[in-house]
């Protein structure tokens, strides 16, 4: 919300180029979440609701540590806990901070029909502008990570903004600020990759030889990345998609079908118009009327 229009590089439902005067001076940012350092304290959740002034409903305990049970319009980030028994028979408690991944190729933005309701900034943040949101939920259909949530109250969608308002004025996201173990760090995407490489090396030396960075190429990379101890099986971490990409159905619906459909409709109408010009109207002539009348009279006899 808080970055200005000069920084917008992509805008939903817009076919013309974004403002381009400010050219790539801004580095792409990224939030790096080191799952191996997370202790599951939920400080990030608290910081998120605190900074964004959100209060979710008090839910009920569903038997696991996840609280609330799912993301919602008021809970933009959520710790998801997985109890994983590794091949050695040891229990591993995998805790992943879920939330918007800020894809380089965002499925939500591709699916959105309302101009400017979803934008992507030069620094990589994907942001919802709720004042332009019409509540259709197409972004939910488009998202490969199941992130946007439609509010039952106002029928608008909400998700993590990567604290675009804080980042715009040089602050780090609230969750990063609150994390007590340094599991969440924030900086330029390049720096975060370097930092991740150090962490992965460390994890490998401790026996996690499949440790790696989650920055999925299927969505062009993301601006929220994970260091995973089992990077070969992202789905272990509460169903993190192994190879996320925009669904082929969404690609078809929001890609080629749009111009082709309009062309087909226009051609159908033009075909009719030119048929009228070339062949012309089909009119009942006086001789048709007379023939009909003769038959009717014959019938009357």
């Amino acid at each position: 919300m808080a970055l200005q229009s000069l920084d917008i590089v992509r805008r939903s439902a817009t076919t013309t180029p974004p403002p381009g005067a400010r050219d790539a001076a801004t580095a792409e940012v990224a939030k790096l979440i080191d799952v191996s350092k997370c202790i599951g304290c939920k400080a990030c959740q608290v910081a998120c609701m605190e900074w964004n002034d959100l209060r979710d409903e008090i839910g009920t305990n569903v038997g696991v540590y996840d609280n609330p049970a799912d993301l919602s319009e008021n809970s933009w980030t959520l710790m998801r806990y997985t109890e994983y028994e590794n091949p050695k028979g040891d229990l591993e408690w995998l805790i992943r901070k879920d939330g918007c991944m800020h894809c380089a190729d965002p499925g939500c933005l591709k699916a959105c029909p309302s101009p400017g309701a979803i934008v992507q900034y030069a620094n990589g943040i994907v942001d919802f502008h709720e004042e332009s949101c019409i509540g259709c939920g197409y972004c939910i259909t488009g998202c490969p990570f199941n992130i946007p949530r439609l509010s039952r109250k106002d029928k608008k969608v909400y998700k993590c903004t990567l604290c675009s308002d804080r980042v715009a004025v040089g602050l780090e996201p609230a969750c990063v600020k609150a994390c007590p173990t340094g599991a969440i760090v924030f900086g330029s995407k390049e720096d975060m990759k370097e930092h991740a490489a150090e962490r992965i090396e460390d994890l490998k030396s401790r026996g996690f030889d499949k440790a790696g960075l989650y920055d999925p190429a299927g969505v062009g990379g993301t601006h929220v990345m994970y260091v995973l101890h089992h990077a070969d099986q992202p789905s272990l971490y509460a169903g993190l998609p192994d190879q996320p990409k925009i669904s082929a159905m969404v690609g078809l619906w929001k890609g080629v079908s749009k111009p082709i459909s309009l062309a087909v409709i226009a051609l159908t109408a033009l075909a009719g118009f030119f048929h009228y010009i070339v062949v012309g109207r089909n009119e009942v002539s006086e001789s048709d009327e007379q023939a009909a009348r003769r038959e009717l009279e014959k019938r009357d006899e």
């Binding site: 439902a13 817009t14 076919t15 029909p113 309302s114 101009p115 332009s132 949101c133 019409i134 509540g135 259709c136 939920g137 197409y138 939910i140 259909t141 199941n146 439609l150 029928k155 669904s247 159905m249 969404v250 078809l252 619906w253 079908s257 749009k258 459909s261 309009l262 087909v264 409709i265 159908t268 109408a269 009719g272 048929h275 009228y276 062949v279 012309g280 109207r281 089909n282 009119e283 009942v284 002539s285 006086e286 048709d288 009327e289 007379q290 023939a291 009909a292 009348r293 038959e295 009717l296 019938r299």
Partner: protein, 215 residues
């Protein structure tokens, strides 16, 4: 021509059918405009006709229910008249004569010609596709009952069905402009004997007695 002068006109559509048809037609126009507005960014301005994007999103599915519900009655009434018969396939094979106004070389046509019958079933099928997929992608009330994969397929089905229906209706509207006298049949309910004789001779002969056995 005086509509009440039964000697000079043949009754084709009764009042309820005409009202029913025009409810479907008006709903269709509103649906096409609001649907296209949300389909292609270049047409998003059409949402202004409905009070903005959010109102367009709210109204579109309810309009869809109006259209489907109204069409149900129309389809039930006209279903049996639209069954394909042997002579219809001959008629279709001579499509070139049809578009070139050479009706004298076509088989005699009953209440509906093969083109009208095909159109009827295209409308039935596309409306069925639109209804089923439309419920699945109706985010405010139903979408959360369906898995994401189904919703994605439904979005494509909805778009494709709508494209087919819009093109079919463009053909339908053009045919009414092209074949003079057709619009009068659906606005005032009557046609001239010459019109019935020229375009629907078998119907003219079967039911062309005074009154015309209107639907």
């Amino acid at each position: 021509m005086n509509d009440s002068d039964r000697r000079d006109t043949i009754h084709r559509y009764v009042t309820t059918t005409r009202v029913n048809h025009w409810i479907v037609a008006i709903a269709f126009v509103l649906l096409a405009l609001s649907g296209l507005a949300l389909f292609h960014p270049a047409l998003f301005w059409l949402t202004e006709l409905f009070g903005g994007g959010t109102w367009t999103r709210i109204l579109h599915p309810f309009l869809g229910l109006v259209m489907v519900f109204a069409f149900l009655f129309l389809a039930a009434k006209l279903w049996s008249d639209n069954r394909m018969r042997d002579r219809d396939w001959v008629w279709l094979r001579r499509g070139k004569d049809v578009v070139n106004n050479r009706e004298e070389s076509l088989p005699e046509v009953g209440r509906y010609n093969a083109g009208q019958k095909l159109l009827f079933f295209v409308i039935v099928l596309s409306l069925l596709g639109l209804l089923l997929s439309g419920v699945v992608i109706w985010r405010a009330y139903f979408a959360f009952y369906f898995p994401i994969g189904v919703i994605r397929i439904a979005a494509v089905v909805h778009a494709v069905s709508a494209l087919v229906l819009i093109c079919a209706i463009i053909v339908h509207i053009y045919a009414a402009i092209w074949v003079k006298g057709s619009v009068h049949a659906m606005t005032r309910g009557t046609v001239t004997p010459g019109w019935a004789w020229k375009h629907h001779r078998a119907w003219f002969r079967e039911t062309g007695r005074r009154g015309g056995d209107p639907r």
